[in-house]
Each structure stands twice: as C-alpha cells, then as structure tokens.
Amino acid sequence: MKVFLQIWRYKFRQVKNSIIFYRGSWFKVWVVTLFSLSFMVGMYILFWEGFNFLKILPLISTMVINRLLYIFFLLIFFLLIFSGLVVSYSTLFAKGELDFLFSLPLNYQTLFTIKFLESAFYASWAFLFIGFPFITAYGVFNRVPLFFYFLFLFNAVPFTLISISAGVLITLLLSRIMALKRWRIYIIGIGILLIPIFYLIYKFVSLPPLSPNVFTMVKQVFQHFRLSQYPYLPSFWISKVLFSYLQKDYANAIRYLLYLFGVCLFSCAFLFNLSKCFYFPAFSNSRGGVQVKKPLKKFNLWKVIEKLLFFLPSSWRGMVMKDIKTFLRDPRQWSQFLIFFGILGFYIVNLRYYRFIRLSMGFKLLVSMVNLAAMGFILCTLTIRFMYPQISLEGRRIWLLNLSKLDYAKIVWEKFLLTFFFSLIVVFSLINFTNYFLKNPPYFWAFSFFMIVMISLGVSALSVGLGAAYPDFSTDNPAKIVSSFGGTLNFVLSFIFILFLVSLNSIPFYLWLIDKSINKIKFLRFLRLTLLWSGAITFFAVFFPLKYGIKKISNIQM
C-alpha cells in the first residue's frame, strides 16, 4: 500500500510539474478548453431540446424519456467496455514505463492496480463528456433535487469500474492466452465494439412497419430495445438507482446501489487476484521479441498501383508508394479509418429503410446536408489524425528525402494530392450511396459532388500545410504530434471551414424548401452564388496553408 501511494504521489507530482513548467501553447489550452465546454453545452442543449420535443407525446412522454435513460446507460456500458479494452492494452503493456516499473521490486498486483486505475481514468473521458450533459439535461427537464446529481456521480464510479473491468479482463485473458500483438487486440476490440453497434443499428433499421397509433408505435420501439431493461446489466442498476430515488422508493434505490457496489468490488477483487498469476506472463508475452514472420510476399497489388502511377516522375512515384505501403501495413492507421467510415456506410446503406425520410423533400435534403457535414467532420478528424503528423513522422529522415530529387515543396504537394485523392475516393462513394438511397434529384447529386471536392481539398490542404508549418521531429508518437499547437489550429480551422461551407450552402435550400420564401429560379441563382463563394473560400483554404507550410519547412534548421 505504501509503494502504491508513493507511485501515485509521483504521478501527481508529474501533473503538477506539467502545469508549473508548462511551455507549450496557451492558445491550444484555451482552444481545447473552449471546445470542450462548447461541446458539453451543445450536447446539453441537444438533449434538453430532445426531451422537450418528446413532450408532443401526451401522457407517455415521461415514460419515453425514462426509457431513453436505460438505453443511454446501455450504450455507455458498451462504450466503456470497448474503451477499457483498447486503453488497457496501452496502459497495462506500454513500452518504456512498464519495462522500467517491472525492473523495480514492486508487487505485480500493485503494478496491475495502478495501471487498471489509469486505464479507468483514461477510458472514462467520453462518459464524462456525454454523460454529464445528458444527466444535467434530464435533471433540469425533470426539475430533480440537487442530490440526484451527487447520486449519479456516486454511482457512476462503480458503474465505470465494472464496465472497464470487463474490457480489462478481455485484454488480460487474450494477452495471456494468445500472446497477442497490439494489432490483433485492436481487431478483436473493433469486433467487440462493432457487435453491439451493429446490433443497435440493426435494431433501428429492422423496425417492423410502425403503427399509426403513437402509443402502439412507442411500445413497438421499446419492445425492440428490451435489452436495456435486462435486470442483470449494470446499466439497468444505475438507471434503477436514479429512478427509485426520484420516486422516493429508497429501499429499491439502496438495493440497486448495493448491486452496483457489490459487483464492482467483486469484479475489482477478481481482477486483482487474477493479475497475480496472469499479469506478468501476459506482460512477458506482450514483449514478443523478434517473432519470425513469413517474409512479405511480393504483393502484386503494389506492382499494379505502381503501374497505375506511370504518369508520375519516379521520385514522386517512390514517395507515393512509400506512403501507401506505410499506411496499409499499419493496422492502427486503417482500422480507425475503417471503423468511422464502416459505421457511416452501414448507416447510409440503411437509409432506405427510413420511410419517413421520404415524406418531404425538405426533410430529405436536410438529412443529406447533415450527412454531408458528418462526412466532412469525420474526414477532417481522420486527416488531422493521419495526415497532419505525416511530415513530422518523416522525422530526421526528411533530409534524406530532401537530398533526393524531391524538394520540400514537392514533398508537401505529394502528400496533399495523395490525401486529397484518397479522401475523395472514400467520401465520393459514401455521398453517392446517400444520394442513391435517398433518391435525391440530379441537381443535388451534382451539388454534393462539388461540396465533397471542396471539403476534401480544404481539409487535406489544411492538414498537410499546417503539418509542414508546425513539424515536431522530436517524437514518433502521432497522438503527441497532433496535440501540439499546429494540430489544434488545424482542428479549429478545418472545423470552421466545414461548418461554414455546409451552413452557407444550406441557406438557399432552407429558403426554397422549408421556409418557401424563394422559388426554384431564385434558389438556383442563390445556390450559384454560394457555390462561387465556397470555391473562393476553398481556394484560400488550399493555397495559404500549403504556401505557408512549404515556406516554413523549407527554412527549417535540422
């Protein structure tokens, strides 16, 4: 226990030192704080408006809102299991610190407990960011007493620990039994996450024809999500504690509270005991050493791609091939890409099941616009995550590239064009599916294509340009590179760029189809004008970051 507390003391000392000796960008700190707060406020407004909207269901609105609470906690439960799984692999088996700590005379269980708590801390951020606004909106809407919020926070701790324990248990067992490498953990993690997500999406899209009677319809919908009412799930218990308290059924509230704390203690004690025999062997397995892998086959696809790039000069072709191979051979890179766009693709493919979308043209185009913005934001997240660090990741090797026929301008342009090309392929397919399933008119097909070209150009240039302008050659960790001043600036500018582009072009659609204040001829004139503006803004978003990036990287002293 003494050693346990000592290690935490030094962990807190590091946090304190990070603040006292902070020499990074305060702009970044302010932007991140502002965005986090705005996000939470935005989520709060969204939930509150949602609850308010449900008032249109007379008599049953309270029941519907309460059922949403069960579904909310169920989703959080799955989210925490997944986060626990992925985060715990990094914290329980991370290189560097763990090798150091294992060389010290520390009990394996003490080490495990420290790392388990760290995993729980890192994995529960999303719960904080979504859970807090949801519960506040729920509380304000229902005018609950202040104690309700304390009760939520008090119960959120065992609920989080139970969910994270499940994720950590999976990691521990897999690492111990199968000597898994990190990418396998990712794939299994993705699989585990995708099962409930696809289950829930399937539940949404496989709704039977809904009854015109609103009561029967609500009953049908909730019947479909009865898993959230399963009495052996912690998500059910935490919901029950809160409801029982509000209904002044204190005996029941205490009963479910004891379930939560009891199971939490059991799961933590179980993991603690398991770690005695499992943690070190699992750690040892994770240090797989030099696994002999079969030599990579001379993959014909590379030759095909190389031939397809015949029009490029050989130095450009070499650079492009290197970037493609690096990306595809690192599952951490494409797996996240696959998750985001896989889920989005699944959603889009299932749009055809939503009969209500076809009710009005205005609503249909609204959904299309939201999809466009969602694709833009996901694309922007991915270009920041993967493309912004590219120049920095070339690291000190960049002089090698610079000594070749490629000067810095060409390196930056190559990365920009490659990012743009791949971004366009992905969003182009998704947007065409959206248009196809929503049976959008041809002019909207043309409009959305124009938009995705603009968005892809803008976000690619911002990521590559700012990545070149603010390189960080001191680390190979992309997450650290992204969290720098340049990464934050990239995020802010890309976010504003997409928001501005989509909002600007939504105006003519809104005025024509929803507000009905302009006719089709005026709409087309107005749209032409907004598109012209979008083109101009995109030109600036491409030209200036790339120019600035090339200028800065060309003057860099290695």
């Binding site: 000392r13 070190f280 240090r287 002999v292």
Partner: protein
C-alpha cells in the same frame, strides 16, 4: 551471483536463448558479447525478470527470479540501452522516487553524492525532458546505483556518452566490482569489453559459444590480437563478412 540453469526462451518458433548455463561470481565484471540478434538483450531481460523463461531457472544471489522476484529486483540495478525516465520529474525528484521505491527514503544525502559524481549538479531541479542524451544516460546510471545493488546489469553502457563520462563510468564500474558488486555488461564496444572484463561470454544464435578470460578466448580462437579479432574468429562459422563489396 548469477546462475542460469538450462535457460531457454522461445518466441513462437524462434529460440532466442537456447539452453544457457552460466555462472557469474560475486564481484566479477562479466561482459556479454554477441552479434546483433544473438540473444543478449533477451538474456538480460530474463535475468532482470522482465521476461518469463520458456524453460530453465535463473538464480540471482541465491534467489529464484521467477519465485522470489521482489527480493531479486531489490538487489539488482538495471540500465537498459534506452533507459526510461519520467520526463515531467526533475532529476532530483526521480532519484527521490527511486529511493522511496527501495524504501530508502532516509538516505536522501546519497542523491547529492550521485549528482556530484555524475556531474549533474546544477541540473537537478530541471525537468528531465530538458536533459541531453548523455545527461539522461548518467541519470539512469545514478538511479541504478543509488540503492546500492549487489548486481548491476547494463545494456550498452557507453551509448551517447562523451569521452569524459565514458571514462567516469569505466572507473565507477571498476570501483563497484572492487566493493563486491557484480557487473553483467552487454556491449558492442569491444575495446571497452577488452579493457574492463574479468571474463567474457560470447553468445550466438541463442547459444553460449564460448566463455572465459580474454587470454582463454584467444587460446580458444587460436588468434593473437585484439578482442575484435577473437570475436570475429569465434563467430565466423555463423556469420561471414562478405569480401566482395562491389555492387
């Protein structure tokens, strides 16, 4: 001080350490040599308890590494080739942390002693993230020695050190061995090995192919010359240097 019995470590199909039987005496400076990928670092990780052996046993100071790992680790000081240091602690705080972990909080005066001899005075209250590579290496040495271990396990000690610091390390290691501390050192810097070693072990493809003093190895290799010549001769069966270097 160190005893390995039929020590074997497999990674899948690959045998990184193959049936290693080794004994290193108290106060001995043992140098472990081998080509890249021979199994040196794996052996070191097994000895320091960072890897679980597939077969065999390791004893440090009479304690089994697998069964009494806490006792073993409390008498070892380990310096890996790229040591881990908490970037957001100062040099002094890091050494305090080490003393706390080894339950030696009362002996804080040792911190100043080690800061002095490793020429880190003046930098001790700065964050480690500001240290140069050499300073980090010296801090790692200080942290490995400050709890007065009976065994020092060092992987590539001279990486990143300037000549003055390298000399200091060599003298410190000699001093420590005179005080009865055992040193297990792995290196590719053969002149250092030649200068310091009491005995040398050469490992290749996971097997200990030869062991003895420098003189004994010279006799075994039937070579008169430097340790480099002896090393190349003893490992030549497995690795031959290409003579035709033309493209």
């Amino acid at each position: 001080m160190i005893k390995t019995v039929n020590l074997t470590k497999k990674f899948g199909e690959v045998i990184a350490v193959n049936n290693l039987n080794l004994e290193v005496k108290k106060g001995e400076l043992f140098v472990f040599l081998g080509p890249n990928g021979a199994g040196k670092t794996t052996t070191i990780k097994l000895i320091t308890g960072l890897l679980k052996p597939t077969f065999g046993e390791i004893y440090i100071g009479g304690f089994s590494v697998q069964k009494e790992y806490k006792k073993v680790k409390s008498i070892i000081g380990y310096i890996p080739d790229s040591p881990f240091l908490y970037e957001k602690l100062t040099g002094r705080e890091f050494l305090e942390f080490i003393l706390d972990i080894y339950d030696m909080s009362e002996e804080k005066k040792k911190i100043d002693y080690y800061l002095e001899i490793f020429d880190l005075k003046g930098m001790e209250d700065r964050l480690i993230e500001e240290y140069s590579h050499g300073m980090r290496q010296k801090l790692a040495f200080a942290s490995a020695m400050i709890h007065e271990p009976q065994l020092l396990v060092i992987d590539e000690p001279m990486v990143g050190l300037d000549p003055k610091s390298a000399r200091l390390i060599k003298e410190l290691l000699r001093k420590k061995t005179k005080e009865g501390v055992t040193v297990f050192l792995s290196t590719h810097t053969l002149p250092v090995a030649e200068e310091l070693a009491d005995r040398i072990g050469i490992i290749d493809e996971g097997r200990l192919i030869s062991i003895g003093t420098f003189e004994e190895l010279k006799k075994l290799a039937k070579v008169e010359g430097s340790l480099e010549d002896v090393f190349l001769k003893l490992t030549e069966e497995n690795e031959s240097i290409p003579t035709n270097l033309e493209i």
